[in-house]
């Protein structure tokens, strides 16, 4: 599956650590599950290469709050595209926990969600075959001025109206 990172399609440098206990997680950037993290924490921390974690929609970033410093990537799963928990979890990662690493959307993601993902703090997503950088560009620009604050740094209608009013005074 192609990876879209900050609007560009790139080769995904990350691999998921499979469940084989003999496989070696010390090579390359590896994404582990919450269970793998809990079961193999010391072994994973002894590695020199980047570490990521994937959370299911039932799991929250709050469960790994103290460990977030170890992760260069947090992936949030969409088991179905109508399960909206990951939007709130992404927002919490960025806002409450100040997380600055990669926040990746995995699972059932389609281009109709790109704008919401972008505005909730996701900066990477595993996209469907056939979807393109142009789709991302079009989706994230579909609504030029949002009506509520988001993490995309796009100024809101409210803030622009206030600026305009102050300029007129």
């Amino acid at each position: 599956m192609p990876l879209l990172k900050s609007g560009k399609i790139i080769d995904d440098p990350w691999v998921c650590w499979d469940d084989d206990p003999d496989s070696d997680p010390s090579v390359g950037a590896v994404i582990v599950s919450l269970k793998q993290w809990r079961d193999s924490r010391d072994r994973l921390l002894a590695r020199a290469t980047p570490l990521g974690i994937v959370l299911t929609s039932e799991q929250t970033p709050g469960e790994i709050e103290a460990d977030l410093k170890y992760f260069d990537l947090v992936a949030l799963d969409f088991p179905v595209f109508t399960d909206g928990r990951a939007y709130s979890n992404a927002k919490r990662l960025r806002q409450r926990y100040g997380y600055t690493g990669e926040v990746r959307a995995v699972g059932q993601v389609q281009r109709d969600q790109y704008l919401a993902l972008h505005r909730c703090g996701f900066d990477a997503l595993v996209i469907r075959q056939g979807e393109t950088e142009e789709d991302w560009k079009a989706a994230t620009r579909a609504i030029s001025t949002p009506f509520q604050p988001g993490l995309d740094q796009n100024p809101t209608a409210m803030s622009l109206r206030q600026q305009r009013m102050m300029a007129e005074e």
Binding site: R85, Q110, C120, L160, R161
Partner: protein
């Protein structure tokens, strides 16, 4: 009323193009119906029994004659010449073609209307007291705050895929005309002891198969915190609301399962972190929105002009209409007139395109071009000079829209039922029509007095049957339609969920059953006592006996 600036126009137009793309992808088959369904729903498009249905938002029920004319034109051009006003201050078109919907939305955008979030598991069209801004007993114009929430909730990226639909209602009065206790978030605008404006926030109300009254989560929230506080509620709900069973996914179930205290603790903890964020409302923004809702330029007039009294004296029907359909305005010399969309034997809430055009003209002539839609499926002319009431009524009579029954037994709320809806298990409209015809006599209706009859065609309760003084729920038994009756519900400040009276009655006896209930009330009532009050005083037993005794007699 609120008028769009460049940002609003851009957003709505861009949303049309976004949806146009989604429809095109559906028509080419790129999107499956399964993938398209949540996308079309969040833009108000249902797939019903016979056709698509498009639900257009009328935020907090306020709209203009220009907008009504556009609705009429859409009804003619893209539908079968009529529209249906719903219980959430929306209007539905029952027969649009999928490929036409983007064009319909583009036409709506021309007059500052849209179908954004009129369905789907997102924050729905925000509703409010239909008399907001013109009724004397309000603490503030509820529409100001409904508009603040409407803007914040529009295309909200975080709260578009909630566990279930999410409804807001606003009231600023002790008299609840917006059913705030039966919404996911009900907001009562009030002033505290220091005369500061703020909000009582209620959560977890709802109807459907598990009717519940909302509970107060915060007694008084200062105005600048409105958005941060509701944002906190929504975030908690989005994260921990149930997603395993759609019938247990509404906020009301979370309130019920956690208890209001535990939920309140979670919300307050979330709110603590965001209350001073960019969600805090700047005073300048509150002022800016308030500016949109400044009262129109009224003329200095006296109450009760002689011409009104004369017409009331001369014309008994007009006099009835004033008594039932007209409410005191906050401005002397003006009145608020309800236009009943419940003509005797008609389809509750339906309006023909020609009637829409005529009503738009009347709104221009008599109501400063403004109208309201009510959750009881009626319309309102909010700014009528008392001296013009007779002229307005005469014109309405000419259109067949002068029915003097607001709040009476024939002012029935009914959902589309099995005549249109894919979810329904029984028909609602024909039952409403039969009850309306049985009680057509105006003197009798006036004698019965205030009575809220609400008829739903399935347990999803779109017609709010749980909160009818008499609630009627259509059910299907072995291929036949039966109707379950409940009594004592109310959506107003005396809110209650009705009690089911007994086994459902057959379709051909439902009107007789209502007649029997009325008979008990007439026999037992004290002077000036409404049906609801009598029921609450004497209890279920006499009503139950009357219905099932008659049934026994009929069987014998």
């Amino acid at each position: 009323m609120y008028s769009y600036d460049a940002f609003d126009h851009a957003l709505v137009n861009q949303r049309v193009e976004q949806f146009r793309d989604q429809v095109a992808r559906r028509l080419t088959g790129e999107l499956s119906e399964d993938a398209f369904k949540p996308l079309r729903l969040m833009n108000g498009l249902y797939l019903q029994l016979h056709a698509y249905m498009l639900r257009v938002a009328i935020p907090y029920g306020t709209f203009s004659s220009t907008q009504l004319r556009k609705l009429a034109s859409i009804a003619r051009k893209y539908d079968r010449g009529y529209g249906h006003f719903t219980t959430r201050q929306n209007i539905q078109f029952n027969w649009p073609k999928l490929q036409d919907v983007p064009d319909i939305l583009a036409e709506l955008a021309e007059v500052e209307m849209h179908a954004i979030q009129t369905s789907g598991n997102c924050i729905r069209n925000v509703s409010a007291d239909q008399f907001a801004g013109v009724i004397a007993d309000e603490a503030d114009d509820a529409r100001i705050w409904a508009e603040v929430v409407r803007q914040w909730s529009t295309l909200h990226p975080e709260f578009t895929y909630l566990p279930r639909k999410f409804k807001f209602a606003f009231s600023a009065s002790e008299h609840d005309r917006a059913a705030v206790r039966f919404h996911d978030i009900g907001i009562i605008i009030k002033r505290n002891g220091e005369d500061e404006l703020g909000f009582e926030i209620l959560v977890g109300g709802g109807l459907g198969r598990t009717p519940m009254m909302a509970k107060t989560i915060r007694r008084f929230l200062p105005e600048r915190h409105l958005l941060s506080y509701v944002d906190a509620i929504l975030r908690v709900y989005n994260l921990i609301g149930r997603r395993d069973n759609k019938y247990k996914a509404r906020l009301k179930i979370l309130v019920h399962e956690l208890g209001i205290d535990e939920l309140s603790g979670l919300v307050e903890a979330e709110w603590d972190r965001i209350r001073d964020s960019d969600l805090q409302l700047p005073q300048a923004e509150i002022d800016r929105i308030r500016q949109h809702f400044m009262p129109p330029k009224y003329q200095p007039l006296e109450d009760d002009p002689a011409v009104l009294s004369a017409h009331r004296f001369e014309n008994a029907t007009f006099n009835h209409w004033v008594a039932t359909n007209v409410v005191t305005h906050k401005q002397p010399g003006y009145a608020i007139a309800t236009i009943s969309l419940k003509p005797i034997g008609g389809v509750p809430g339906d309006v023909q395109a020609g009637e829409m055009d005529a009503l738009a003209d009347l709104a221009d002539r008599f109501s400063l071009g403004e109208l309201r839609a009510t959750h009881e499926q009626n319309l309102v002319m909010p700014h009528v000079k008392q001296a013009n009431l007779f002229g307005l009524w005469s014109a309405l009579e000419g259109l067949g829209l002068g029915t003097p029954n607001a709040g009476l037994i024939s002012d029935i709320i009914a959902c589309p039922g099995m005549d249109y809806c894919g979810l329904a298990t029984a028909r609602s409209i024909p039952v409403a029509q039969r009850i309306s015809k049985r009680f057509a006599d105006l003197d009798r209706q006036l004698d019965i007095g205030q009575l809220k009859v609400k008829i739903s065609g399935c347990i999803n309760a779109c017609a709010h049957h749980h909160v009818g003084h008499i609630g009627i729920l259509g059910v299907e038994r072995k291929g036949a339609e039966y109707y379950q009756i409940s009594l004592g519900g109310s959506a107003a400040e005396d809110a209650a969920v009705g009690t089911i009276i007994g086994p459902a009655v057959a379709s051909d006896t439902i009107v007789d059953a209502v007649e029997a209930l009325i008979g008990v009330y007439i026999g037992a009532r004290n002077p000036d006592e409404r049906f609801l009050d009598t029921y609450r005083r004497i209890g279920l037993a006499p009503f139950k006996a009357a219905i099932y005794q008659e049934k026994l007699n009929a069987a014998a």
